[in-house]
């Protein structure tokens, strides 16, 4: 295809004898994509196609990232993810793109709302330094009297939210993560309601980092979850993120909030400890897992979080390798790939051997949360690591399990 034709230009083509009129979308890998006047996109092979005429597009209204500062209100911080996803006309797939104000719509009426874009990434690319940035931004907003809602991709939302939960030693305002499982470019997106409910939940003054997402596949009801007890348990459903035991802090239904589980209230001031030690690996154990693989993973790490089987077990070979690592001063935390229920190294001989090797078991903490907690403790409280790992510091461990 020849000529300087840009996205949005009106174009007339001859393709295998048919005259085709429409709007030029893209030309890539020998394929011309044109949007016909009836709305259909057609992808035409360049070789069979001839441009008859083209006409530069009128400028469309530009989508701007408007930012609004606010005090004593609710600040929405966007970091990317599906909730800020749009069609990528180049690859044809969905990519992050931002237009926060269009997401808020009629939610938060009567609330003093601010918006800010602090990042623009897919959540699988989130790293610990992003968490530090989020925490710092959130702290600044809290200091201005704002509750904080963070828009985040759902894939690693529980990692980020739990990391922030640890970093916030005190929080003067609520901090709620939300996202969407259907991108907001579709009429069925859960983004709009999730944001509205996150704003509404701020009224509870929860002094913990929380997550607010759909409560079921239906609309009209969202739940507020404890960040350190939540996990994404389905790849695609709207209600994928949940407390592993189904314990919601609160629910909203048709606009009405009901508090359920007991939660911590906000503090007078916000205090954050933002040091995170990234040299931690999360390791999944399975039959045939080789000691040499473990030692390769442990290379240059200061702590390992292992997802063992059942009550927190690994094979004899791995137990031996762990003994070697703990002797070298590497912290080893045992969690369970079962996800629910306590890790307990007292019950079986394997567990007792691990315990003797200095492996730390921390009740029913979720493996991903154990990872962020380990990063946090190694960064800030290394000398109290063993003790603090085993007790709940952000309600990440249930001392009583009732189901």
């Amino acid at each position: 295809m020849k000529g300087n034709i840009n996205f949005g230009d009106k174009i007339k083509l001859l393709h295998k004898g048919n005259e085709i009129e429409g709007t030029f979308i893209s030309f890539e890998n020998g394929i011309i994509t044109v949007k016909l006047n009836n709305g259909y996109n057609v992808a035409l092979s360049d070789e069979n196609t001839e441009v008859i005429s083209s006409q530069a597009a009128k400028k469309n209204k530009e989508i701007r990232n408007e930012e609004h500062e606010v005090t004593d209100g609710v600040m929405i911080l966007a970091t990317g993810g599906t909730i800020a996803s749009r069609v990528d006309y180049t690859t044809g797939a969905v990519k992050p793109h931002l237009d926060i104000s269009s997401l808020i719509g009629d939610s938060g009426t009567g609330v003093n709302l601010g918006t800010k874009v602090i990042d623009n990434i897919l959540s699988e690319n989130v790293t610990p330094d992003k968490w530090i940035s989020m925490a710092t931004h959130a702290k600044r907003e809290m200091d201005r009297g704002n509750h904080v809602v963070i828009l985040h991709g759902t894939d690693t939302m529980t990692y980020s939210a739990s990391a922030l939960a640890f970093m916030f030693e005190k929080q003067s305002r609520s901090l709620t993560f939300t996202g969407s499982q259907r991108s907001p470019d579709r009429p069925s997106s859960d983004a709009f309601e999730n944001i509205a409910s996150s704003i509404a939940f701020s009224a509870l003054n929860v002094g913990e980092v929380t997550i607010s997402m759909h409560n079921s596949t239906s609309d009209f009801s969202e739940r507020l979850l404890r960040a350190t007890r939540s996990r994404k348990m389905h790849t695609t459903r709207r209600d994928a993120i949940r407390d592993i035991y189904g314990k919601d802090l609160a629910r909203i239904k048709d606009g009405k909030i009901t508090a359920i589980e007991e939660f911590r209230n906000t503090d007078e001031v916000s205090i954050i400890s933002t040091k995170l030690d990234e040299r931690v690996a999360l390791v999944y154990f399975y039959p045939s897992f080789e000691p040499s693989t473990l030692s390769a993973i442990a290379e240059s790490k200061r702590a390992l979080v292992i997802m063992g089987t059942g009550l927190g077990h690994v094979s004899e070979g791995i137990t031996k390798e762990i003994k070697r690592l703990t002797k070298d001063g590497i912290k080893v935390v045992m969690t369970s790939q079962c996800l629910a229920g306590n890790v307990n190294l007292n019950v079986y001989s394997t567990g007792r051997e691990l315990k003797n090797a200095g492996v730390i078991s921390a009740g029913d903490i979720l493996p991903e949360v154990a990872l962020t907690k380990t990063m946090y403790l190694m960064g800030n409280y290394e000398d109290q690591f063993d003790e603090l790992m085993q007790i709940p510091i952000r309600r990440e461990i249930n001392r009583r399990l009732q189901n």
Partner: protein, 596 residues
């Protein structure tokens, strides 16, 4: 009337039985529902950053959609799982139809999302894809141009609607639809019926036609020079011609009414301003009004400048144009001055309203019964619609009632409401064309009838009707059960339609069961007919096979009856005599033997 200036085109939608288009659910069976869920839809901007007219219109209605989950739906229909790769069997049917219509098949298939926010798609859009451009269909009155061939997913089936809540079933959502759009060169209503029949036959002839009452639906595109009107979802062929004819008449009358209105108001623009007149109706005798007021609604009245006598007089019916619109917002009560006094409303009330609105001689007025929240939307929507009609732009999407009259559905959507389905990569069609060709060409209606006649040795008449009525699959199935082909044809074309006419619907599954039972138990035509009759009367297959009346008279029974009949009658007379004595089947072979 003269059809010279009329442009008439069709969009024919045919369901396929290949399984659903974007998941592995069955597209033929399985409508049993289990649980349900509720959703709302949001108006979002399309590919170019604009929001389509039809979409923002629907947004104002703010409805709640409830969906029944059925055993032939899954997370894809629930909009909880991205679409799976497109159903290849369905795509091959599309390609074969395109080949038969000599359409140009595109190199690549790009699946689009067509935004539809009336809840009929859980995603808020329908997935649709252009397969081919151009081509034509041969008809008795010359070739009709084909514009496009698309493959798309069917929408959810609307079960019921109650105010702001609409209940849909997911059973139909996702069933593959072939959409074949003709050019506007159809000659008249009768020609439209022929074109529809010929095109849908082509699809059926692929062997992947889904037998069901709603398997074929047509949209009629019609223009008299007042803009394009699309009449949606015409499910019966007969409605094509009725609908088109009624719509033509409506537009002619409407043009007349609008000319009159223009005369009355000149360059003045249309203004709607509702005033609360509830007080007027305290103690009214109108049950309609008092009931609405009791339910917490209010009465609002507005002047309709220059419309006196145009709202409802003879064929002038601006009132219905307003009423159609108001109804879409769930508002039942609309009254206007051309029909008042009436509906229990007397001159006391109309005088009182006139005092409020002070209409001039050629002014009319209307009364709506609704909430405060609705009245602002109504003012805007009525004004917009009347202004558009006044400019003689009648383009819009309409639907057709069972009686063949059409009614307003929504503004015509624009291209804005389409954007790419990002969850499905483009499909290379070039290689698939060869595969489609390997499956052989699809026959036209007449070729198919000829072949069928030869294959089964049935009459040309039967063969032609079987083909035209889409009964070939059923015919093949019944014959395969082991019954005579002529018998199958006779049952399908005569006995069953007659029984259904007089008694009731017979499910094909039951027909097949009866044929199978008859085969296994050596029962003949006479017994089959009795059994079909019992089924048509509402009995279950279990009841029917237990009925002793389905068994033919035994030789002994026949002998006994014959011994009581006077001698010397002809066989025909004898049978008539026996028929008077019993409804049981008569094995004519046995009878003949006995009569020898």
């Amino acid at each position: 009337m003269s059809h010279a200036q009329i442009k008439l085109g069709l969009e024919i939608h045919v369901q396929l039985n290949t399984g659903k288009l974007f998941c592995q659910c069955d597209s033929v069976r399985g409508g049993d529902k289990s649980s349900s869920f509720s959703r709302r839809l949001w108006a979002v901007s399309g590919e170019m950053g604009l929001t389509d007219r039809a979409v923002s219109y629907e947004k104002d209605r703010a409805r709640v959609f409830q969906y029944e989950i059925t055993d032939n739906s899954c997370l894809v229909e629930m909009d909880e799982d991205p679409p799976h790769p497109i159903n290849k069997d369905a795509l091959l049917v599309a390609l074969r139809v395109a080949l038969a219509l000599k359409s140009d098949i595109l190199d690549h298939l790009t699946v689009m999302r067509k935004i539809v926010v009336d809840g009929s798609n859980t995603a808020g859009f329908q997935r649709t894809s252009l397969v081919a451009l151009g081509g034509h269909v041969e008809t008795s009155r010359g070739p009709v141009k084909i514009l496009t061939i698309c493959i798309e997913e069917d929408s959810a089936r609307r079960v019921s609607e109650d105010g702001k809540k609409v209940l849909y079933s997911l059973d139909r959502l996702g069933i593959p639809l072939l959409e074949i759009a003709t050019g506007p060169d159809i000659k008249d209503e009768a020609h439209a019926v022929e074109v529809a029949r010929e095109i849908s036959f082509l699809v059926a002839s692929s062997g992947h036609f889904r037998s069901s009452a709603e398997a074929i639906r047509q949209d009629v595109n019609l223009s008299l020079g007042y803009g394009r009107v699309e009449i949606k979802g015409v499910s019966k062929l007969s409605l094509i011609s009725d609908g088109a004819r009624n719509e033509i008449n409506r537009q002619l009358s409407l043009a007349k009414a609008m000319e009159a209105l223009k005369n009355n108001i000149g360059t003045e623009s249309i203004e709607i301003k509702f005033v609360d007149c509830s007080a007027t109706f305290v103690g009214t005798e109108s049950k309609l009004v008092s009931k609405e007021l009791e339910n917490g609604r209010k009465a609002f009245c507005s002047l309709l400048k220059g419309m006196n006598g145009l709202l409802r007089k003879g064929d002038l019916r601006i009132g219905k144009e307003i009423a159609d619109l108001v109804k879409l917002f769930g508002i039942r009560g609309l009254l206007h001055s051309d029909e008042l006094p009436g509906y229990g409303i007397g001159s006391r009330e109309t005088d009182s309203i006139k005092k409020i609105l002070a209409p001039a001689a050629n002014d009319a007025f209307m009364i709506v019964l609704c909430n405060d929240a609705q009245v602002k939307t109504l003012e805007k929507e009525i004004k917009e619609r009347l202004t558009k009609l006044l400019s003689l732009d009648f383009s819009e999407t309409r639907s057709v009632s069972e009686d063949g009259t059409t009614y307003f559905l929504r503004p015509l959507p624009g291209g804005e409401r389409m954007y790419p389905e990002t969850d499905i990569p483009n499909v290379d069609l070039v290689n698939m064309i060869a595969e489609a060709m390997d499956l052989g060409p699809i026959d036209s209606l007449s070729t198919a009838a000829e072949k069928l006649q030869k294959e089964y040795d049935i009459s040309a008449q039967d063969s032609s009707v079987l083909v035209r009525e889409f009964k070939v699959n059923e015919f093949r199935e019944l014959t395969a059960i082991g019954q005579d082909a002529r018998l199958s044809a006779r049952m399908l074309l005569q006995t069953i339609p007659e029984l259904e006419n007089h008694k009731g619907k017979i499910e094909f599954e039951n027909i097949a069961n009866i044929f199978r039972y008859a085969r296994e138990n050596g029962l003949k035509r006479e017994s089959i007919e009795v059994m079909l009759g019992l089924i048509a009367s509402g009995q279950s297959i279990e009841q029917v096979i237990k009925d002793p009346g389905i068994l033919p008279l035994s030789e002994a029974e026949l002998k006994k009856i014959l011994s009581e009949i006077e001698d010397g009658l002809k066989p025909g007379q004898i049978i008539a005599k026996i028929r008077k004595l019993t409804k049981r089947p008569i094995d004519t072979e046995v009878l003949q033997r006995l009569l020898k």
